[in-house]
């Protein structure tokens, strides 16, 4: 295939976008997968969420802000929004989803391994929260991110984060601590 002048002129721009996206992926994929795994019910869904997040960055590279922190916040927000979209689709099938969660909990309660029981219980309890509230809980309680940083990452006010935390703690306590025999 002959190399045209236009191809040579386009090469630097494409190369720059590819390099930037590669750097973005290498720098944030691990953290995003952790977050996605905590927000989703299984590993496959987490992997899809991460890939879809980076695909959005690839399709609209101009929307990803420059700088480590802004681009990280953009990726986190995109991932949480994708999670919310999936949650909304699940709400449409709420009866089936509720049935699945009930079966999961019943299956979990008879699981012999304590760690697996705890993991499935936490996953099921987190799945009952709305995606944004779930993201707040995961970022603050599991990843240890400060409230101010959570607010920056999700693009909301600190008071909103605190309100989500309060409500999430109340919901999770009613689900987890009630079932915990040590509590």
């Amino acid at each position: 295939m002959p190399i045209t002048t236009r191809a040579i002129l386009d090469r630097p721009q494409t190369q720059t976008a590819t390099d930037r996206l590669a750097r973005l992926f290498d720098a944030h994929q691990e953290r995003l997968f952790r977050l996605a795994r905590r927000l989703s019910s299984d590993r496959e869904e987490a992997r899809d969420l991460v890939q879809e997040t980076f695909l959005r960055a690839a399709r609209q590279p101009g929307k990803v802000p420059e700088g480590d922190q802004p681009e990280e916040a953009w990726l986190v927000r995109t991932l949480v929004n994708l999670c919310r979209d999936r949650f909304r689709r699940l709400v449409v099938r709420s009866l089936a989803a509720t049935q699945i969660r009930r079966e999961e909990r019943e299956t979990v309660s008879h699981h012999p391994e304590e760690a697996a029981v705890a993991r499935a219980t936490v996953t099921a309890a987190l799945a009952r929260l709305s995606p944004r509230r779930r993201a707040v809980v995961v970022l603050h309680e599991l990843e240890g991110v400060a409230v101010r940083e959570v607010a920056r990452l999700l693009g909301v006010a600190e008071v909103t984060v605190r309100w989500h935390l309060l409500a999430a703690r109340r919901d999770l306590a009613s689900l987890l601590l009630k079932e915990d025999p040590t509590s």
């Binding site: 386009d10 590819t18 691990e30 992997r47 991460v50 309680e141 599991l142």
Partner: protein, 170 residues
């Protein structure tokens, strides 16, 4: 249930059931497959159409020229063998003056010079047919015998116009 008193306990339970604590991250195969999928999803940059304004301008100029040639005045050379028609000429005809009195007419109008063409200038000069002596007694005869002025025109198309004016016409 007072949840404010046991946030640490809740955090402990959450960390105990943290799925990430028990599972590895992306495997090498998953990492490379996802990276390849993401990097190949970059859309091709749009080709710049810098030549488009030039083409548009050129087309507009050509269109304008074509319109000028099609609708402008036509100057075609005559085909060989075609007779050339002379342009229409308008003959300058002098305004006829008021006829002078008969007595003056008899003396003022010169006789036509022999040998001069009557078609010169597309106008034939007036001529006198008869000049009779004037007598006081025969006035009716005088009236009848007044000279008649004849003016002839010839147009470029070949039509000849002859005006005959009575002697006392003004």
């Amino acid at each position: 249930m007072n949840t404010d008193s046991n946030p640490d306990r809740l955090r402990e339970v959450l960390k105990l059931g943290d799925p990430v604590a028990q599972e590895p991250g992306l495997t090498a195969d998953e990492f490379h497959a996802m990276r390849r999928a993401v990097l190949t999803a970059i859309p091709e940059p749009r080709r710049q159409v810098a030549w488009l304004p030039l083409v548009a301008t050129g087309s507009a100029v050509l269109l304008a020229l074509a319109l000028v040639v099609a609708l402008g005045p036509r100057h075609r050379p005559p085909a060989p063998g075609t007779p050339v028609q002379p342009p229409v000429q308008v003959a300058a005809v002098p305004t006829p003056r008021a006829a002078p009195p008969v007595a003056q007419m008899a003396t003022a109008v010169p006789a036509p010079e022999p040998g001069k063409s009557s078609t010169h200038g597309h106008r034939r000069p007036a001529r006198e047919r008869k000049i009779l002596p004037i007598h006081q007694d025969d006035a009716p005869l005088l009236t009848a015998s007044l000279p008649v002025r004849e003016i002839q025109f010839s147009t470029p198309g070949g039509t000849r116009v002859i005006w005959e004016l009575a002697g006392n016409a003004r």
